[in-house]
């Protein structure tokens, strides 16, 4: 039953000589064989146990990787037909750093096609199911990673977060998901969606595991010129620190827009934080209500440019029938991309097109500055801000898939942190009446990840889902 344990428990067991990493790999493989037909968390499971380094912090324990990050020699599909035959020719920096820390890999997890979605329903390889309730979505786009960690199909995983794609699925699957400050983790080898927003982060069963992985993947990288030259702290040093006197801002507008379940979860959360000695105040983020609009201008604009590279020439799928080069491009792209990806490419092309640039893209960039400024003001008064991760529990499969706008609005509370480039975590803070997990989001100022781990670890001692995760 090793698959039920956390990363730090397993590290300890290996150090004591009680188990080997291969035992863990076997346990995970058995669990995957038993569960993944139902859950569909993986696009690709590695049938061989490959090691990269004899010893290191992670003791050869297998990690799951979202299938939009490269592991050399393994397929990277982005859950898209257009990359369905692509095999990576280099390691992403995050993967390289994991290898240097003696990690191994169990497989590549499912996502919304090119990470564009909030439910994994846009994956070319089928929807991932929420392990808490198989008729519900696991969230997205890192739905495969979150579902795998919640169901015991992985000990820990990497995800990527452009508008909430780590935090929202972590919240809906009852696990811990962290989006670092923009620039903390190199994006080299992460297939680009919206380059000014994308960020890699860990999805784990507890806060300690999360901090352990963050310690490994952070840092300046010459292969990503947007990666930040900021000292990497030991984030585990913030765990178990008292939070008495910590100034916590509550973003009440978000709570008011949430379901009754989420509202009462937040009431309980604030009670717990008060009991822990936090000083609770209200914060106002007057422009955050425009964040979804801002995001759906900026992200598709960047995506339309980033996804121009898929033309059937250098890699990936190429259409079989065409008369000339132009037709080859169009047929390859039209057959290779799914509906949601096409929609976002076109939305982005539209907002950047002549005559519309000023009306959409330029305004969106100005608004981005205002959203950031609200946070800057708030962080003069508080150390961190709390709000729900999602407005509701996990919705049913099929419920929003034909209504893109409703789907987009499910990320309403996670998008502002991406727009402002700020670090944010989601940790479980309640179970809904339907016995589905809900998440608390903690946001801090840029490069103040430590304080998030401090508060998250204190809160986790008061509420966690360790005994309730669907691991049986």
């Amino acid at each position: 039953m090793l698959f039920k344990k956390t990363l730090h428990e397993l590290i300890e067991l290996i150090e004591k000589g009680e188990i080997t990493a291969y035992d863990i790999y076997k346990s995970l493989l058995e669990r995957i064989n038993e569960k993944d037909k139902q859950i569909n968390a993986y696009v690709n499971v590695f049938e061989e146990f490959e090691t990269y380094k004899d010893d290191g912090l992670l003791k050869n324990i297998p990690i799951a990787i979202k299938d939009n990050m490269h592991i050399e020699g393994k397929p990277t599909t982005c859950s898209s037909k257009i990359l369905s035959n692509y095999v990576a020719i280099f390691d992403s920096t995050a993967v390289k750093k994991l290898k240097e820390a003696a990690a191994t890999f169990i497989g590549k997890t499912n996502l919304d096609e090119f990470a564009m979605g909030s439910s994994t329903e846009t994956s070319y390889f089928g929807t991932t199911k929420n392990p808490w309730s198989l008729d519900r979505i696991p969230g997205g786009s890192s739905g495969g990673s979150a579902a795998a960690v919640a169901s015991g199909e992985a000990i820990a995983a990497l995800g990527s977060d452009t508008g909430g794609s780590i935090r929202q699925p972590a919240s809906l699957c009852g696990v811990v998901g962290f989006k670092p400050t923009y620039g903390r983790v190199s994006r080299y080898g992460l297939v680009a969606f919206a380059s000014s927003l994308d960020q890699i982060g860990p999805i784990t069963r507890d806060v300690r595991d999360n901090a352990i992985l963050m310690n490994i993947i952070c840092g300046r990288d010459e292969m990503d010129s947007t990666s930040a030259d900021v000292e990497v702290e030991d984030f585990t040093a913030y765990l178990d620190k008292p939070v008495k006197g910590l100034r916590v801002g509550v973003y009440e507008d978000a709570i008011e827009e949430s379901s009754d379940d989420v509202k009462s979860a937040m009431e309980n959360t604030l009670e717990i934080l008060k009991r822990l000695g936090c000083e609770i105040t209200k914060v106002d983020l007057p422009h955050s209500k425009y964040a979804v609009s801002d995001y759906y201008i900026i992200a598709p604009a960047e995506a339309s440019s980033n996804l121009a590279r898929y033309d059937g020439v250098k890699y990936g799928f190429r259409s079989e029938e065409f008369d000339d080069l132009g037709e080859m491009y169009i047929k390859t792209r039209s057959e290779g991309f799914g509906k949601e990806v096409k929609r976002r490419i076109m939305l982005g092309t539209y907002v950047l097109s002549s005559g519309y640039y000023d009306a959409y893209y330029l305004k969106a960039q100005k608004l981005r500055g205002l959203i950031k400024k609200d946070f800057d003001e708030a962080f003069k008064e508080v150390d961190c801000i709390v709000l729900p991760t999602t407005p509701t529990e996990a919705f049913k499969i099929g419920e929003k898939v034909n209504n893109p706008l409703q789907m987009y609005l499910s990320d309403i509370f996670t998008i502002p942190a991406n727009i402002a480039g700020l670090p944010a975590i989601s940790i479980p803070n309640s179970l809904s009446k339907n016995n589905l997990p809900l998440g608390l989001q903690i946001v801090a100022d840029a490069f103040r990840e430590g304080i998030i781990y401090q508060l998250a670890s204190a809160f986790e001692k008061e509420f966690n889902l360790a005994d309730k995760l669907p691991l049986d």
């Binding site: 020719i89 250098k314 000339d324 706008l405």
Partner: protein
């Protein structure tokens, strides 16, 4: 409101085909999204500066020295069609 013809034009700019059978739904969904975005016009943004990068960065320079890079073989490994150490595409020049 965006029209069918405009959506077709954007598809063409994006090097995409949208099936006629899907076009009506596509236009409706596009309009839903654009209508929602109209809310940003409530704001007076005329005096604001555009923010293109959220984390302050200065120019990132490096020494101009030759380093190992991806080999020709690796670069062509995923190509749908390759010949003579190059990507092969349909003929683009008329004789």
């Amino acid at each position: 409101m965006i029209t069918k013809d405009e959506v077709k034009r954007i598809a063409k700019l994006s090097m995409l085909n949208i099936d006629d059978s899907e076009l009506d739904t596509f236009v409706d969904q596009f309009n839903d999204i654009l209508n929602y975005m109209e809310q940003i016009n409530e704001l007076d943004l005329s005096s604001c500066d555009a923010v293109y990068h959220i984390v302050e960065l200065k120019n990132v320079f490096r020494e101009d020295v030759v380093k190992p890079s991806i080999s020709n073989e690796k670069a062509l490994k995923n190509a749908p069609d390759a010949a003579y150490g190059a990507f092969r595409v349909p003929k683009v020049i008329e004789r």
